[in-house]
Symmetry: C2
Subunit: 164 residues, 2 copies
């Protein structure tokens, strides 16, 4: 077996476990707040990126701008996001998380962090060092390949905004 197959295989296994566990937790928290998975997807995107346009969010959710706009309107009504004029292009809107929205995302992350913490506490110090070193190598390679953590969709637009 090639080394890269081994890495990819281990990542696949890890991802499957994470996804399996994660999805349940996210669904649960979403329901508590009366949100759908698309809502949560949008909130996480905003948490990750800080700010987005309506159409960018729509692209990432794989829906039309009109669908995104209507969905974001519902999130505005929930008090989780705010829309404002984009100062660099008055046709566009900037969408950001509100404090409440940020708290929602934090809450979603906390359960996961507690899980990570408890898993980590089962390791010896030596094991921890190995795991952290391995994870950092991984993150470094991922970030090197993809500095923006952005797999698709309007990278140019976003780069322009970053540079303003």
């Amino acid at each position: 077996m090639r080394g890269s197959d081994e890495v990819a295989g281990a990542l696949r296994e890890l991802t499957e476990v994470f996804m399996h566990r994660s999805m349940g937790a996210v669904v649960y928290i979403a329901r508590q707040h009366g949100l759908s998975m698309s809502h949560v997807g949008a909130l996480f995107q905003l948490s990750h990126r800080g700010t987005s346009s309506v159409s960018n969010i729509g692209d990432r959710l794989g829906v039309t701008t009109a669908a995104a706009s209507q969905m974001l309107e519902r999130l505005v009504r929930h008090g989780l996001i705010a829309r404002s004029e984009d100062p660099t292009d008055r046709r566009a809107k900037q969408v950001v998380l509100t404090e409440q929205g940020g708290r929602f995302v934090d809450e979603a992350m906390k359960a996961r962090q507690r899980w990570f913490q408890s898993v980590a506490e089962e390791m010896s110090a030596k094991e921890r060092r190995t795991v952290v070193t391995g994870l950092r190598i991984l993150l470094d390679k991922i970030r090197r390949a993809d500095p923006d953590g952005d797999p698709c969709n309007r990278p140019k637009e976003n780069e322009e905004r970053v540079n303003k």
Copy 2:
């Protein structure tokens, strides 16, 4: 900083990157097949577990059994799952992926595998060994803590079924 904080922090970062990237890819594939995220969630659950009851799927998606039933009906119509009588309890149904459903899940996983592969190919052999060792430690601890990979919801029922 404590070792376990470091591990948990690295995991948090990794998860965020994965989630950010993953979500886009999953959304894209779902759309291509005219499926919603709940559909995909159910398909992944079935892929992970092999078989589930209607109510178990509903629990995991955070909806009532009636909602789950109706959603699964749509997946049946898409040809992605099949429902049959549960031989151990004729009140219940067993839900499994069809071949087509399995292909859908495979397709969804493939893009991710390719990504993992390309990330792995950027590593030296030494780096790969460290990453794999670290990941295996992690997987081992996770599995030790949670052998079924099942974070919640009707563990007893599932255990009974496993033992049959």
